[in-house]
């Protein structure tokens, strides 16, 4: 019998040593100074160390979690050529239906295609002849695009320099990016989300643009459309009355666009949210009065931005835009001083061809530097690009054939610069200007080097936590956890005396073991995880309460201490097993269905219960056995 106890003590000792060893790394890591950690990072030994410590979740150390999804309808649209109305309608319907019914887009699209008489071969080149073959081809193209997008994002993140980035695929068309402990969240977001689709697009002839503007003015002005003007602007019918106050008066956005947010916003300073509209001109030319001439380009005062955007997206107005062209906005605003001395920020509106003259995929090198002396961008940050020979050839042809025209450099549908072509550029060198600072130029160079995302990707979920909030959460979590833990320990000690202290030992061991398991599994400790840990303390206490209550009962029945302990454990263990197993099931289901924080909770709960079987039953039993064998216990301290 005594030997059996020795074996049990050895087993407990061994698990303790193992737990201690796996926790050593975490404890050591947190005792290091920042300098030491930096030193280890440069030395290269940090990574190995970090792989052994308990990871803190984004909610505890700050960081960002982004879920991106491939925009399948958009991908199909980009791949298609010769887009007939029938095709576009079909595509839009499929997209809407897939979203509404939470179905796979391709399944819906396939169904739509087979129900119609459309011949996909008219819209897709080199992807087969039968509709089914083309669909298969598109689907595999999409799957491929996800993998390439992951690769591109990984490249960008690596160049950005983040420790332990996690880039994973989820489902068929999703990518989850997690950057823990990252400080500059805004920069990282830009870097990841940029499609980085670089295009060189020729501007339309200004005369054509002028024709459109006149047509739009006339359309909005003519009597029968005055209702539509109001509709386009979402304004009350008698909006002209509201305008009759002063020239170039700033009118409240709410007034003109009819957005009535409870009226309280009016106190929010009319001037700041107003549109810049000249009343008389507005009546005569409702559209162009919102625009300004900025160096012979179409400038749109920042405050008119939404109004112009809204007009341009009106379906009737869209019909007036020449079919082979579109409007793009400048990436940045330009600051100008007006005649009356006020400064105003302007977006530039560019009217460009639909088809790009050259794609950015030919770019082989990209680097940030300051513009050379004597050039227009002297001393300003710019991004230099070099193209491969094929790109250089196309670029030479493009620039040579269009001297005197403007060529827009477009990144993700935003125009960075649109220089006039003066000479043919034979060597495939080009640059982008207009960056706010060197850092921005560097980031753009990174995305250009890493390559464009192979397909449109949209962010469907984002969660970021600033570092200070994370630190606060840790402090509160740990403090409250410690208080709760202490209260339970004290209560058990008082209520069950020495046996209670034994239960306390089991509780402490339980927490140690759970943390050790987390570090071995490289699981992540989140705030809900801490909550789960504390909850397991409650559950582990239950096991000992069950046992102790049962032992008390048996003693009352007149059994000897030894016999009471034996029966107590024997009976209670069955109950504990049944009761905890069901909680274990809940934890497993939570791990399966849960995401992020919930998963963290489930993981600690799961291991907490598992380890409590060992600590609350095995460990306490061992001590009871040992004590009753060593001394003749007449009265149990329980």
């Amino acid at each position: 019998m005594f030997k059996k106890n020795v074996v049990r003590f050895i087993l407990i000792g061994l698990t303790l040593v193992l737990a201690g060893y796996s926790l050593y790394w975490t404890i050591a890591y947190h005792s290091f100074s920042d300098q030491k950690i930096e030193a280890m990072r440069t030395e290269g030994s940090l990574e190995k160390f970090e792989s052994r410590i308990i990871r803190l979740g984004l909610d505890l150390q700050g960081g960002m979690h982004i879920v991106m999804e491939l925009d399948l309808p958009k991908l199909v649209e980009t791949l298609a050529s010769n887009k007939t109305p029938q095709f576009t309608v079909l595509l839009n319907e499929a997209a809407a239906e897939a979203t509404a019914n939470e179905e796979d887009f391709f399944d819906v699209f396939r169904r739509k295609v087979s129900n119609s008489n459309i011949k996909l071969v008219r819209h897709f080149n080199g992807r087969g002849f039968k509709n089914d073959d083309i669909m298969d081809n598109l689907e595999s193209e999409a799957k491929d695009a996800v993998n390439r997008a992951m690769e591109v994002i990984r490249n960008r993140v690596d160049q950005f320099g983040v420790s332990e980035p996690s880039i994973q695929k989820a489902g068929k068309y999703r990518i989850i990016v997690e950057l823990a402990g990252i400080k500059d969240i805004a920069r990282a977001r830009e870097l990841i989300q940029n499609t980085a689709l670089l295009e060189f697009i020729l501007l339309k002839d200004p005369a054509v643009t002028q024709q459109f503007i006149t047509a739009a003015d006339n359309y909005l002005k003519t009597g029968q459309h005055s209702d539509l003007t109001a509709e386009a602007l979402n304004a009350p019918k008698d909006s002209s009355v509201a305008l009759k106050e002063s020239k170039d008066k700033a009118m409240s956005v709410n007034e003109l666009l009819g957005v009535n947010a409870g009226g309280t916003d009016l106190e929010a300073g009319v001037a700041d949210s107003g549109l810049v509209v000249d009343e008389e001109i507005y009546k005569d030319r409702p559209f162009s009065s919102l625009l300004r001439n900025i160096d012979n380009q179409i400038g749109v005062p920042e405050r008119n931005f939404y109004a112009v955007k809204k007009i341009l997206s009106n379906p009737e107005i869209k019909q007036l835009i020449p079919f082979d062209s579109k409007f793009l906005w400048s990436a940045k605003t330009e600051r100008r001083t007006m005649q009356d001395g006020r400064t105003e920020n302007f977006y530039i509106l560019y009217h460009v061809n639909n088809e790009p003259g050259l794609l950015g995929k030919y770019v082989t090198k990209a680097s940030a530097s300051l513009g050379g002396a004597g050039t227009q961008s002297s001393g300003q940050p710019i991004v230099n690009m070099e193209m491969n020979s094929e790109g250089a050839r196309i670029f030479a042809k493009l620039t040579g054939a269009n001297i005197g025209k403007q060529l827009a450099v477009v990144l993700d549908d935003k125009v960075w610069t649109a220089p006039f072509l003066k000479v043919k550029i034979p060597d495939g060198r080009a640059y982008i200007e207009g960056m706010g600072d060197m850092e921005e130029a560097k980031d753009i160079a990174i995305v250009l080097r890493a390559g464009a995302l192979p397909a449109p990707v949209k962010t469907i979920e984002e969660r970021t936590v600033g570092p200070s909030l994370g630190r606060d959460s840790i402090n509160t979590g740990v403090r409250l956890g410690a208080i709760a833990f202490l209260l339970v320990i004290v209560f058990m000690g008082i209520y069950y005396k020495y046996s209670g202290l034994l239960a306390d030992l089991a509780l402490i061991l339980n927490v140690v073991f759970v943390l050790a398991i987390l570090s071995v599994l490289q699981a992540t400790l989140t705030l809900p995880g801490i909550a789960g840990l504390i909850l397991t303390v409650g559950m582990a206490v239950d096991a000992n309460v069950l046992i102790f209550e049962r032992i008390r009962e048996e003693i009352e029945k007149g059994k000897t201490v030894r016999a009471a302990i034996d029966t107590g454990y024997g009976r209670a263990v069955i109950t504990i097993f049944d009761a905890n197993l069901t909680t274990l099931f809940s934890a497993i289901i939570l791990m399966q269905f849960g995401t992020g924080p919930v998963k963290g909770f489930a993981v600690t709960l799961f291991w907490g219960i598992v380890s409590s079987f060992f600590t609350a039953i095995f460990v306490t039993r061992t001590f009871f056995n040992w004590a009753t064998e060593k001394w003749v216990v007449k009265k149990l301290s329980i």
């Binding site: 929010a268 962010t459 209520y495 504390i534 409650g538 206490v541 209550e549 069901t582 809940s586 849960g594």
Partner: protein, 297 residues
């Protein structure tokens, strides 16, 4: 020390009264959930954007609202957070394709002479919201199914039925409270609901286990008597465990944000879980047993 001496309370005697009271309460909860107040789904399930920002200099809610309105975000909900100059801004789903986090950040940056740090940003698209909601319901559903199977296997089907009815009662009860007070339902709340399910079941099983044991060892005439004795024998444990777990979640309720709501759900759940083990789960098994007895005769 001993809080609970040997007791002999007749728990089961008035079970019809308790079942009726619970039934009425649940009916009110259901009406509130489906017809009157509904449930206050958080960002996780509705989609939308939340930004928690802290400004350097003092600023009023009106000023923040103005900056947002100027960027067409006038339907934002602005809430002052614990500390001064700290705000939680919630914006419903936007139709624009631009990242709402970016648009909001730009809007706040336009506030002159004041800088801010973003402590938290959450943005959930409509699709994800829908998915999270269905996966939350699925997890609760599957938890119930698995429990039903396990208890049928370990005990008997009528015990499983009693346990699951008690669980449905607990979840509906807590949901009812969330509906009355319009507390926010987030992912953490769902985790709390599942923990409540686990906890309440713990309680129920401890009693059932004792019933099963007493069934074999003692011969106590009626089913009511069997349950009464078993509940009384385990009462001490029920109260001690409930008490210690309650201490833990009461302390946690002092936290902020998600953990706080989680703790509130748990406090409700522990109380109602203990109640349902005594007054819902047990009576249902008894009723079932009686029907069986009648049929046998």
């Amino acid at each position: 020390m001993r809080l609970i001496k040997k007791t002999n309370i007749e728990f089961v005697k008035h079970y019809k009264v308790f079942l009726t009271i619970s039934g009425i309460y649940l009916a009110i909860s259901l009406i509130s959930i489906f017809f009157v107040r509904g449930l206050n789904y958080g960002l996780d399930f509705t989609g939308g954007t939340l930004l928690q920002v802290k400004f350097e200099n003092p600023i009023t809610t009106a000023e923040v609202r103005q900056a947002l309105a100027a960027n067409r975000l006038e339907n934002s909900n602005i809430q002052k957070a614990g500390e001064s100059n700290e705000f939680i801004i919630r914006t419903p789903l936007q139709t624009s394709t631009d990242s709402t986090v970016v648009v909001m950040t730009k809007a706040l940056e336009s506030i002159p002479n004041n800088s801010f740090v973003t402590n938290k940003a959450e943005s959930v698209g409509p699709k994800i919201g829908k998915e999270l909601r269905s996966s939350a319901y699925m997890s609760i559903f599957w938890a119930m199914v698995v429990i039903l199977i396990y208890i049928s296997f370990r005990f008997q089907f009528r015990f499983a039925l009693g346990a699951v009815v008690a669980l449905v009662h607990d979840v509906l009860f807590t949901l009812g409270v969330f509906s009355f007070f319009q507390l926010e339902i987030s992912l953490s709340t769902i985790a709390a609901f599942l923990t409540i399910v686990g906890y309440s079941l713990n309680d129920t099983i401890v009693i059932f286990d004792r019933v099963r044991e007493n069934m074999k060892t003692k011969h106590l005439g009626t089913v009511e008597k069997l349950f009464d004795i078993s509940i009384n024998e385990t009462l001490s444990r029920t109260i001690i465990t409930g008490g210690t777990t309650l201490i833990v979640v009461l302390v946690l309720a002092f936290a902020h944000g998600e953990v706080k709501i989680f703790s509130i759900a748990m406090i409700i759940g522990i109380l109602v879980g203990t109640y349902s083990s005594l007054y819902i789960a047990s009576p249902i098994v008894i009723m079932f047993q009686k029907k069986l007895d009648v049929r046998k005769k």
